[in-house]
Amino acid sequence: MDFEKIEYKKAGEVLYSYEHDSGLKAFVIPRRGYLKKYAAFATNYGSIDSEFIIPGQEDVTRVPDGIAHFLEHKLFEQKDGNVMEKFSRLGSNPNAYTSFNKTVYLFSCTDRFDENFSLLLDYVQNPYITQESVENEKGIIGQEIMMYQDNPDWKVHFNLLKALYEKHPVRIDIAGTIDSISRIDRDTLYKCYNTFYHPSNMIILAVGDVDPESVFEMVEGSIPHSKPQPPVSRIYPEETGAVHTDYIEERLAVSIPMFQMGYKGGFYGEKGIELLMYETAVKLVLELLIGRSSDLYEQLYSEGLINSSFGADASVEKQYAFSVLGGESPDPVQVRERFCHVLETAKKNGLDRAACERLIRSFRGRFMRQFNSVERISHSFISVYFKGVSMFDYLDVYDKITFEYVNEVLHEHFKPESLAMSVIRPV
């Protein structure tokens, strides 16, 4: 059996990879000494893929919002009952999640990995959806949507995306709305399944104390041999660099205002490594300007304008990119002004080179720490893989990223017209 072994000496890690002739790729990251074993079966299909052209057809298909997530719920249903029961007989924990651009089915177990793994391979490939079970699921997902309506952290984030984007579907809740899911039926679910769950659009990953060869043999034996499917063309509305609206506010039962502000990135890299480089640079700028070791953080904290809930992050994908910073504040608008002031000063005077080097060192350590957790390895590996690179490429990014490039991104990403703010205020 043919598979590849790549050693990453600096990280003390090994990656095994295998390609099935259907186009499916499978990977193993071994963890000696760990009792938890983890496997994921993921498709490059998420909540933003609601308009597409099915390979071989000419017309555009438009499906209701929230259908990728709905399908995720329904795959657990099998002809002979709910597959969760089979996993729980084995004592393992099955789960699944849907994000903007992927749906991931997974389990973690400590014993009987092979049985669990073949169960995973089997149910993800064999949907059994009835109209009756679709109707039943609407009640459950309806409560999931309602739960998020009362979650201020979720609300403040999705409101920011609504402010940043005018048309792009990242502005829509992953689960859709009560109204959009009411329009989901069995046939549309199958249509999406058949379009996006072709092996060539999917990957498999196992993490833990498992034998790579036996994992790949099981994949080989379970996935039907077929030709790779041509890529699905996905249609995303065009967005300008400017934000849809620069401020959005909502009232919820919270004790203190919460805010997120963020920049809509105009950069859409084709090569994955560029995406990682850009993401790292945006994060470095945020840390330099308002991270825990910055002047601004110390000042805002001392003045009671931010507290330890404050944080910053960046999300960079092929189809969209944005940065986010936020937390709780009695006066979010003042935090924004103060940040913008420091930002403009940095654009004039440049960033702090020594601090930048220290932060890259910190990023490197934090990257290494991810390998303590099988869940985090899996999550990170799959996200980065669908950008067209490997998570291990971060090590290269930390070696190669230059202070000059970070300065460039400071000017390129953080433009006044790309800034929006979302605030949740107490009722």
Binding site: M84, G91, D150, I256, E298
Partner: protein, 434 residues
């Protein structure tokens, strides 16, 4: 070095002056960590001061006088982390400080990360930044404000708020009802002098547990003992757990109104099973069958069959002897959901437990317990909880005990469960209110 199931077994390095130092040696992680716990009894008098202490202490130490200095040091140490805070386990109030850092073998330039991280953590704990012998008024004022925000911010996460409130309502007039982060109205009266005196009380009299996890050498463990033997210690506080039995109760209904779209329904019960009793493993299995995952009665009946909720589970508060069933539902479905929850409790008390439920629960608990050994934080928490409960189990002995639990044991545990309080978080003026 041991790996696998036994990797997480702690060895006591030394014990003196009410300080116990444990080492958990394992090389499977990329990082190592150092944890300090100071334990107190949960009391109205101390709770707010205990919560303020780590908040003020994290602002700076003698060698790292500002938060910014601490952050810079952590960044230089390859993104090491440091955190501190308070938590309650039963009626104990625990102040914890920890640091986690890349182990030496993964550091490109040979930095002695253990020594550096220990020195930072110890500086924060034992050498706080004092002004004229007391905490800075400025830091104190700011952290009082942050703590007030934190206490008031309890309502922001409705799921955990509803479970906490249910337990507090069950335990009114018992110390357990005290919220971990204290009382807003007690903040104003705390002066810098008083908090500094309380700091000395903590450092001198609170029983202390220290855990060193990861690739720790003998020399490094000794270094920690040496450092701590320099601390001035007095007589240590005698601690209680707060376990209470309550055999009979009229069910109390508590409704709280808030601006919410989804109702949160909690049913709180007394377990009447002490954390150190031989019956405790049966209670764990009971909870697993009732609401501990996708195989459980609550998940299958409230979510899958009745389609009333996205989540429905039960959880134990081991030390105090409580169990809470929690679910997020449409407000108009309160009675329907409550009926199904109560049916499951009745079912369990009658001993209606299928082989599937029993088997899936025990296996899922086994997976859960083994998985704890893959996280440093979980290993430490497991062993700290053992010392609080007064038990001496490790991961394999607890598993053996769980495997021996029979359906009759579970039924007996079920019959000790007493329903106590129904708590409902609902929308203001909602039609579904009763």
């Amino acid at each position: 070095m041991e790996t696998g199931f036994d990797a997480g077994r702690p060895v006591r390095v030394s014990s003196f002056n009410g300080i116990d130092i444990y080492r958990v040696n394992t090389d499977k992680f990329k990082t190592s960590s150092i944890h300090f716990f100071f334990q107190d009894n949960l009391t109205r008098e101390n709770v707010t001061k205990n919560a303020l202490l780590p908040a003020v202490m994290r602002r700076g130490s003698m060698s790292y006088p500002t938060q910014r200095d601490i952050s810079k040091e952590l960044e230089s140490l390859y993104g090491a982390s440091f955190d501190c805070g308070v938590t309650k386990k039963g009626e104990r109030h625990i102040i914890h400080f920890y640091t986690e850092f890349l182990s030496k073998q993964y550091v490109p330039d040979g930095t002695d990360t253990f020594a550096a991280a220990l020195s930072l953590l110890f500086d924060i704990i034992a050498r706080p930044a004092l002004v004229n012998g007391r905490f800075s008024d400025e830091y104190l004022a700011q952290e009082k404000d942050n703590l007030r925000i934190r206490i008031e911010g309890r309502v922001n996460d409705k799921m955990s708020y509803s479970v906490d409130r249910c337990m507090e309502e069950m335990c009114r007039n018992e110390p357990f009802e005290i919220y971990d982060y204290g009382f807003v109205e007690d903040l104003a009266g705390i002066t810098a002098d008083e908090l500094t005196a309380h700091y000395r009380t903590m450092l001198e009299t609170f029983p202390m547990q220290v855990y060193l996890v990861g690739s720790i050498t003998d020399g490094e463990a000794e270094k920690v003992s040496e450092l701590l033997s320099g601390l001035e210690r007095g007589n240590t506080v005698a601690l209680r757990n707060g376990f209470a039995r309550k055999e009979k109760a009229d069910i109390r209904h508590v409704t709280e109104e808030m601006n919410v779209t989804q109702g949160k329904l909690c049913l709180g019960c007394r377990t009447n099973t002490a954390p150190d009793s031989d019956d405790y493993p049966a209670l764990m299995v009971y909870n697993g069958i009732l609401g501990g995952g996708i195989h459980s009665k609550l998940f299958r009946n409230v979510r899958e069959k009745a389609s009333l909720a996205y989540y429905c589970y039960s959880m134990l508060e081991k030390f105090k002897g409580l169990m809470v069933i929690s679910s997020g539902i449409d407000i108009s479905n309160k009675q329907k959901a409550l009926d199904i929850m109560e049916e499951q409790l009745d079912d369990m008390a009658k001993g209606n437990i299928s082989d599937y439920e029993m088997e899936a629960t025990v296996k899922s608990m086994e997976t859960g317990i083994k998985s704890l050994t893959d996280s440093q934080m979980n290993i430490v928490d497991f062993y700290l909880s053992q010392t609080i409960a007064g038990t001496r189990d490790d991961f394999s002995t607890i598993m053996e005990k769980i495997r021996k639990v029979t359906k009759d044991d579970v039924k007996a545990a079920a019959q000790r469960i007493v329903r106590d309080t129904v708590y409902f978080l609902t929308a203001a003026d909602s039609a579904g209110n009763q």
